[in-house]
Structure formats: structure tokens, C-alpha cells
């Protein structure tokens, strides 16, 4: 059998490890052949196919990014998109497709499978860790590690100087990276998109921290927002994917804290640094196992399913169910972590 593989959506360390796991096991154990489709769904749409064999996946395990390229192309929004995909699969004699991606990519995969009978297996990917049905997604641990190391370094300044240090991390809709890196880095305030923050409360924590003769470190998810009436002035340009670009909550916070407390504040904006480079050992383990289990699902012809982590096991769940809702930070967990605020 010939199996197609594609990667969709944003950068995420571990994508190559998934591809390698799929191909190594598929070729060696099941004798499959592989076609890689380039640039997400654009690959099968435009028949951008590359050969995927064992030499092609050699040495890619520690490399960030994806050897297949990616895009945010959505075939459901393109005329005859589904038909063209089915034609490409037929023409290339691809008997099953493994789609590695986030909410959008898997949403397409679910519909292809459920409504159009395309034999698809999904592999979940989101650096923000906000996909339901899996304990963790690969890339998240790497991002948390990078953010934590940055926070660690800021403690030196916090010890020596009297400045507020604000760190803006990824997370538009879910605060997992902020929560994990903020806790691991010993931040004094963590602000997440799930809960609008009160700038007065933030300033109270900041002020109380200074009384302990130590400067506060504030970790803020890029999607965090103050309460109504404390509104951030946003730069609401649209990015090339049509998403509203909310820039600058970190810079806004620093200025607002300075204005309200009279303390100097400095901002670090990590940006894409968090989603690039070599994956952590945990992410390589998880991504590789996702790959191995995805090809097992193909062999079992268990289509319409997505691999997922439950504890230390890899399980299969319906793709549609997995993407049904965003996995956000539970208020109880946020409160648990809140013992370290101030």
C-alpha cells in the first residue's frame, strides 16, 4: 500500500519526528510506500508530491520545522477542493492519508473521513497544547522549556535591580505555556487568556513583591486581556492568514505598570523563538510514538481516528470528537498555581 503524509498549520518542534516514526515503521514492518504531500492541504490539492523513504527521513529527528513544508490552506473553502484531493489520491494510488496538524488541519481531516469516506488518520499538533482528547501535544514541552530558561535568566536582574520584568509568551486562546513556564520559572504573576486580569490586582502583586526586596516577574500569554474598561490599545491588523493580530499585551502591561506603580518595567517578547529549533527529549519521544501508532492505525484500517496521549499510553480517538472544543486551563488549576502569585 501507498500512504500519504502531510503537515499543516504553524511551526511545531517534533513534526519531523512524527514523519520519521511513520516512515520507519511503515517501510520496515509493513512494507508500505510513502508519498509526502508538500505544504499541508495544498499538497494533495495541487499534487505537490515528494517521495518519502528511509533515506529521506534520516537525520531529521532532532530538527525543528517540517521537511514537508506547511500551509494554512483549507480545501473546504476552495472550489472542488475535496474532489481535487480525491483525484490526487487516486492518481497517486494513495490508499490512506495521515494528516498531522492542529484544529484546522484535523477539522478538514475529520470531514474528509466522515463525510467523504477518505481513509484518514490524524496526528494532533498544537504548540499551545489546547487540543482536547490528548494529555499533551508535542512541541509544547519545548516551548515551555525555552520560556522557562528565559525566565530563569531574568531572576538575576530581579535580584539585583528594582525593575518589573514582563515576559510575553505564546498562547492566543489558552494559557498553558504561560502557566507551565510561569510556574517552572517561579514567576510572581501569570496572566492567561482564559481569565481577564485586573490591572489593579497585578499592580498590587507587583508592589507587594517589591516589599520582599525582590523585583517581580510577570508572565503574560499573548492572548491575555485586561478587564473591560482597562482595555489594551491593540494593533488590529490582520495577518496573512486572516487572523486578527493582537500585538503588544506585554509592552502594554509594562507601560501600565510603570504608570500605576512608578516602578520601571522592561519587556521580553520571545515570539517565534518558542516554536523553533530542536525538540526537547519529551517531545521527540511523544512525536515519535505518535508516528508509530498512526501507521499502526493505518494498518488496522482504523480510519477517522486520531492518536492521543493518555497517561503513558497512546490511544485512538475519533478525530471529530478531539477537535470539538478547545482545551483551556481549568480555573481550579489556575487557582492551584495562584498560591505563588504576589
Amino acid at each position: 500500500m501507498r500512504v500519504g503524509v502531510l503537515t499543516g498549520g504553524g511551526d511545531c518542534p517534533g513534526l519531523n519526528a512524527v514523519i520519521r516514526g511513520i516512515v520507519r515503521k511503515g517501510v520496515q514492518e509493513y512494507g508500505y510506500e510513502f508519498t509526502g504531500f508538500r505544504d499541508g492541504w495544498r499538497g494533495p490539492l495541487e499534487n505537490r508530491a515528494v517521495r518519502l523513504d528511509i533515506p529521506a527521513v534520516r537525520g531529521i529527528l532532532p530538527r525543528g520545522g517540517t521537511i514537508l513544508g506547511s500551509s494554512r490552506t483549507n480545501p473546504l473553502k476552495i472550489e472542488n477542493g475535496i474532489r481535487r484531493i480525491k483525484e490526487t489520491l487516486a492518481k497517486e494510488e494513495v490508499g490512506a492519508l495521515i494528516a498531522i496538524g492542529g484544529e484546522d488541519t484535523l477539522g478538514v481531516a475529520a470531514r474528509l473521513s466522515d463525510e467523504y469516506g477518505v481513509p484518514v488518520v490524524g496526528v494532533p499538533k498544537t504548540i499551545d497544547n489546547d487540543l482536547s482528547a490528548t494529555d499533551y501535544t508535542f512541541g509544547f514541552d519545548t516551548a515551555v522549556g525555552i520560556a522557562t530558561e528565559a525566565i530563569d535568566r531574568l531572576h538575576t536582574t530581579a535580584e539585583s535591580h528594582m525593575r518589573v520584568l514582563v515576559v510575553e509568551v505564546m498562547g492566543r486562546h489558552a494559557g498553558w505555556i504561560a502557566l507551565h513556564s510561569g510556574l517552572a520559572g517561579g514567576a510572581n504573576v501569570i496572566l492567561i487568556p482564559e481569565q481577564r486580569f485586573d490591572i489593579e490586582q497585578v499592580c498590587a502583586w507587583v508592589t507587594s513583591r517589591f516589599r520582599a526586596s525582590y523585583a517581580p516577574i510577570v508572565v503574560v500569554a499573548e492572548g491575555a486581556m485586561p478587564k473591560d474598561g482597562q482595555m489594551v490599545v491593540k494593533d488590529e491588523s490582520l495577518d496573512s492568514f486572516g487572523h486578527v493580530r493582537l500585538s503588544g499585551v506585554g509592552e502594554w502591561l509594562a507601560k501600565e505598570i510603570e504608570r500605576r506603580t512608578g516602578k520601571e518595567a522592561r519587556t521580553t517578547v520571545l515570539g517565534h523563538v518558542q516554536r523553533g529549533g530542536t525538540p526537547s527529549a519529551f517531545d521527540r519521544w511523544l512525536a515519535t510514538r505518535f508516528g508509530l501508532h498512526a501507521i499502526d492505525a493505518v494498518r488496522d484500517r482504523d480510519f477517522g481516528k486520531m492518536v492521543a496521549l493518555r497517561g503513558t499510553d497512546i490511544v485512538r480517538v475519533p478525530i471529530a470528537e478531539a477537535t470539538a472544543r478547545l482545551k483551556t486551563v481549568d480555573p481550579a488549576l489556575y487557582e492551584e498555581v495562584g498560591v505563588f502569585f504576589g
Copy 2:
């Protein structure tokens, strides 16, 4: 209430994060006071007590080791050990004890609780990840990360030269570190204590790897052993804790591979480097949450229990049950990873 805390057994990154979690929540939320006992069970035996308050746990989150010191003292093997511990707890007015440690430390904790009615809560600690009842223990992720980074660096040599590279990692009785770092590092052979290895098979993998014009990397757990008749000449001195010291499976392997295949081999022995230094973000997260939940168990007077990780939740399990058997690598998992051998 006054709560005692102690740490027992070997070094493990994250111990300080547990202590900090316990004290921060215990003081702030429940108004408890804390006594730290120094050097494991020797602390309550000899009443080596130190004050543990919020200033005492400031800044310790990223630091390896334990501010309380450790030892392998076993009060069950000491005359009147239990009685002396109960006396110390009474004298210091300690109403509950949190014991952070591995199989031995928790074994004592279980008996103190179950047979002598001492109010104990356990926190599992083993860098080898070989404790049942918890998905992971803190320190393990750090060790895997360090070993993986070392393996990553060896790939350069593997690409350029024609040498076999052997890496000896921790793991006397369980091969978790070897398995995870070997997979994450893209090793070509992984040898674990759970399964005696056949040196002929190892040499066959080594030889086949050279045919792909790439040198093999062999990851071996310190406790891995060849089949009978292929015996390692061991240095069976006893260390100061009375454990048999099995040194040198890495060096033995390198020499044996050279002898059998005619290829040069070089060994890296990471040793204690794997258990020192700052914990990874994952380990800080896990260790901190273990601390927060351990003090919750004290508040609930849920003694005789140990905190444990199940998926993303922290749960409580009976200490005795948790230490009943070693968690070793499942043969099915070893076989899953075996697709990358050779």
C-alpha cells in the same frame, strides 16, 4: 499544626521544588509551621531539625539537590529506630510528616504509617522512573534531557568517522532513561536491564549500521547485562551503602565490539552529571504540584498515602501499594522502540 519534611535517598533534580511547594501552600493557605529534618531518616532519628519557612524556600526552585540534605539511613534497621522517631516528632510537636524519597524511604514511610500509626504522607522520588503507581517521577525528565543532548552531540562524530560510540546511562534495575534518551537521541541500539542482551546481535546491528555509511550509537543502561556465557567482568566492590557496584558495562561493550567487529569504539560515561543541576521545566512543574498536593493530603488527614501522577492529574494512592513492585520497561514497549535498532 507543625509539619515535618524530610528527603531521603540519592540526588534528584526537583527535590527543592517539592519542599517549596509544600511550604508555600502550607504557610499561606493553611497557616502551618514547618520543621525540616536533615539527612533523610537520620533527621528525626537524631533530631536534626531546621526551621522551614517562606524565606528558607526562596530561590530554591531551579536548584538541584536538596536543601535538607539526604541519607540512606533506615530506621527499621536501627535499634529503637521507630521509638526514637516518634519521640522526636512528639518533642518537636510535629503532627504530620511528609517523606520525599524512593523505594527505601517510602518503604519506611509505609511501615511507620501502617504499623506504628505515624501520620505520614509520601512523595515519590526516583530518577530512574521505576516506581509503580505514578506515570512519571520528577528528575527523570531532566536526566533524559541530559543524556539526549549528549547523544545528539555524538551524531556529529558518527557522521564523520567510522567509530562505534557507546553511551552508558543510569538505570540499575529499569531501563527507562536508556529507552527514552536512546529513542529521543536516535540511537541505533538500546540495551536495558530488563532484557539480557546478546552481544552477537549487538555486533550484527553495529555492522549493518556501518553499511549505511554511518557509525552506530549504542545506548546502554548501567544495569544491562549480556546473556549468560557472554559475561561482563565486573568490579564487584560494595559501595558505602552496601550496594554491589557494577561498573563498566559501557567500557566492556566498547572493547567487546572492537574485538568482535574490528571497528574502533569509544565510550561516554555520563555518571552523576545526569542527576545534578537545574531541573527541567517539566520536572519543576511535576515536583511543585507533588508538593502542593502533599500538603493538601496533610490537611485532609489522608495519611498513609502518596501523591502520584495519572495523566495530568495528581492523585493519592496507598504508599504500600505504590512501592510493592518495581516499574520496569514493558517488553511490548521495548519492541515498539526496537523498530529503530540497527
Copy 3:
């Protein structure tokens, strides 16, 4: 003899290594005693003295920041400042003073020595590497390493996506960090304060890079400025030290590139992350040797001098000469590196 030690100015990894080197050699080899003055020149001004002995410097080698604290207090601008310093030194029976700091701190040291006969030895410190008379200053290598690692990670995104990636690094008046990290990280454009940049040229490089089907990485020093008429809209608030705060050249560049080229751009602002945390091995080596040689200068009563690196040797130069002018990037060196632009 009793020797005073103080650290002035901003954070810089390696300060503690200098202090340790001074104290270890001073106590062990020369039998000196030490008084640490806290918070830069404020220490001798207000007689904020702490004891510095061998236990006090134990374990500080790998730690960022300074155990003596720092400030930007300038005694020359304070009424009777010099007299008060001399009184403190007399009262504390301090026979020589070692001042570790940058342009400002050493400027005071030079005048104290040359005009007021205070026996001072200087140790140069600037994370920006912009002090004349020494090949390198400690802290710089650490900052370059951190910035380079960030740029490394951005290459993943540059490979996969079509976004311009802008990284703003430290350097108000000298572009050393931008130049070294930009070269080491393989940046496509490096902008430094020494040479006003032409935004049209930057956009031309950006556009040409995209034609090589790879996204450009632009490294910009915080003090870099466009040519007249392409002016950055600055936020010219004064910081607490009276310095003009020029924020945002990175963010400005990203927006201007987007506007002019139609390509999306994203910014990373590393900020204080660059000056905190553990020093690199090179910085620990350099800082320790600076400390060892500073105390030798005291023993030789060679006052008014500053230690400096020349090749692999530590030499002594007049403090006044060393701080006479800023060491900026030579146009020829900038041109040498320019071969990698575009």
C-alpha cells in the same frame, strides 16, 4: 591590609566570579582581609559594608548578578561625595579599593585615584563590550551566546514560513552583540548603532532573500537608527537613571518592513534575558582572571590601573586612558561581515 570591593552599573554575568577571584587569592596568598561595599559607590558613601571572606564567596562562580548589589550612584555629583568616601575608607581601615564597573564607575575610580589620591584598582565591566583598552569584557560572550541561540531557533521558522523575523538585541551605542550574534546566528541583515541604516536597503535585502526561498532574519541593536527622514517614532521617556529610553526599533522595523514589502514580519525582543543567568565558560575564565590580577595590582601598589585582556594575557592600563573613548565597531569589520547580508 584590608581591601574594599564594590560593583557598579548594570547587570553583567561574571561579576561574582571577579569577586571570588579577588577574595580567594587575596586571603590565601596575601593574607588580606576584605570589606564589600554594597550597591556601587553608594556603599562607601553611606558606609554600607559587608564582610567578604572565603565562605562568603563559596558557590558564587556560576551565579549571575552580584552578591554586593549595584547602583548607578555617582559620588562626583553628590555633595562632599569624595570626602565621605575617604572618611569611610579611613574609618573602615580600607587601604585599597577595587572598583568593578563600566564607563561611569571607572570614570569615578579614575578621578578618585588621579585627583584625590585614593588607592584604586579598576576592573572593566560592560556587557556591550564597548570599553577601550581591553579585547573583551566579561558578560559579552554570555549575551552573544543567548542571542545566537535565539536566532538559531528562528531559522526553523525562516525555513518553513514566509515571514521576516526581526530580533532586537542589546547595544545602545555599540553594535558588538548584534554583530557577533548576527554573524554566529547566520542573520541576513545586521543593523548597528555605529552606522545609520537605510530602510530601503534593508527591504531590498529582505526581498532578495525571499527569492532564495528562505525568509530573512534581521538582527538589530536597540540603538540602531534609520537615516534621517526615515525616523523611528520613539518613546522618549527617561528611565530612572536619567537615560533616554529608546524603545522599539525592533517593532518599528517589523512594521516598516511589512508596510514596504508586503511580507509579514515578527519581532523577538530579548531584553534583560541577555544579561542574566549563569555566565559562559569564557566569561567565567576572563572574570576570574581579572579578579586574580586585580588583587595582584593591589599587592604591587599599582594604583590608578585597570586590568585588561590583550590576546590571552591580562595586562594593566591606566584607568583614565581606558575609559577615554567608547570602543565602537570598526567600519572595516562591519563591511567584512556584510558579505553575509541579503
Copy 4:
């Protein structure tokens, strides 16, 4: 003009950065074409040529190893070796050759240039930093950084436990890596090949360190040797390059310290981990500049020269002079560092 490039000898991070620097500047500024010879001198001997152009050097800056491969083949020891090299150069129309390598490779280059009139430019490479005429060689800073990080991690165990920790690092004939990493890591004993050590003195330092209630860390270069009569039992097999393989001074030391002091000792042997993986920012800077200046020397037809670092400048020196003697650790420098022993 067509320029040949080859890399000889052992692995060393930065080789690819040199190649990239040569090719980028040579093509862009001087319009040269390049031929890469594979596997050191074996390349021109056997005419193993590959094309080197700008796409060929893309992305190699951060990668360890060498894209040209390496070997220890010595054409002076091969019949008609020189004639065959000259024939290859003539046949391939190579007008100048850049040889990147250590003592052996450069020794050949010097003779080719001086005695046979081959137009050669040298680039010095030795991870051990033991080449005269240059302040530093690339790869050394990376190796020191890796060793220092390992020592850092061992301090945790040194604080918590009562074990002697021995770290064996590279350095057969010169102790630079041991000296720099030992100083930067805060080791208590540093042993180098330049000075035979007295095991009794080592044990005295070890014992005195324990009295400060802290365990000692001993850094030993692989080529360090005890005084006569305290001889290491060596494994004197020859490696494939005909070098005597002295293994195990680290393991020997640990056992001897245990035997003499009664304290447990543990060994870490870093091995090839020190010479692989991504180069440090400093090494990338140095290696790139070596490449840029080597191609300038070709353009100037300044053959028989080697590029070298003097302070912050790249200069040219006669190859023969540069390889005339090994650069070993000066006794005065070793004594300077000795203040931290014990």
C-alpha cells in the same frame, strides 16, 4: 580561478563555518569557483572532488562535523603522494588550495608549499587549542563549554553527598580544556599532561576539601599522568590511526582515591561528546573569520601562510612556523589557577 578546499584530522565544531566563510566571500566578492576535496588529503590523492557553491554551504554554519569529510591520510607517507596531488590539482584546474586542519594536516601543507611550490593557505584546527601562533583555535570554546556544563551539574552531588567526583576531559598533550573548564566549573583539582601529578597531593586536596563539608570535583585531562612509581595501568592498544590509546586515567584516579582516602569516588568520561554538535557563538565567529581571511590570502597570493587569531585581529603567519611546536600550558598560568585547588 578555481580554489580547492579540504578538511583533515579529527572532528571539531566550526569546520563547516570555515568552509562557508571561504565560499561565500570567494564567490560573491572575487568570483572564484570552488572544488571540495573529500576526506582530507585522500581527496586530492584520489581525486575525490565535489562541487562547492553557495547552495552547498547553505545552513551548515551551526552544524558540527564537516560536509567534506575528513581523514588522517598523510600524502608524504604514500608513494608518489605529492605527484598525485599535483596531478589532481592540475587536472581539476585548481589554482590554490586551502587546507583546514591540525598539526599533521598543516605539516603536509607547509611542505607542499615550501618544498613543492603548491599554492596552499592553511587554517588551523585543533580542539585541544595546542597550536602555536594563534591565540585560540575554533572548537576549543565549544569543548570547554560542554565540559563546564557537566562540572556545573556535578556540584549538586558534591553539595549533597560525600563522594569524590572525577571528570575526564580531552587533552592528550596539552591541558587547555582541563584548565579552562576546571577553572570555569569551580573544580578543586585540575590535572594536566604538562605536569605529572602526585597522587598523594591529589588525595591531600581531596581530604582537605571534605573538611569544608563539601565533596571535591577533580578534572583530569586524558593525557595527565602520575609521577613515576605511581603509574597508571594503561590499556596500550593502538587505535586505527596508529596512536597509542591511553584510556582510563579518570577511572584509575577514582579507584586510587577510593583506596587511599576511603572515600567513594565516581567518574564521568565525556569522550566524543566534547567534540560534536553545534559550535558555540565564539567558535562560529572565529571559524567564519578564519574562512573570510583565508580566501583573502588566496586573493593576495600570499601562499604558505596560515590565518591566526591575535587579540581580536586575524593575521597571517608562515604555516611552518605555526606548527613548529606544541602550545602547552605555561607553568605560571597553571600556578595562577592553582589558587583554587584543595
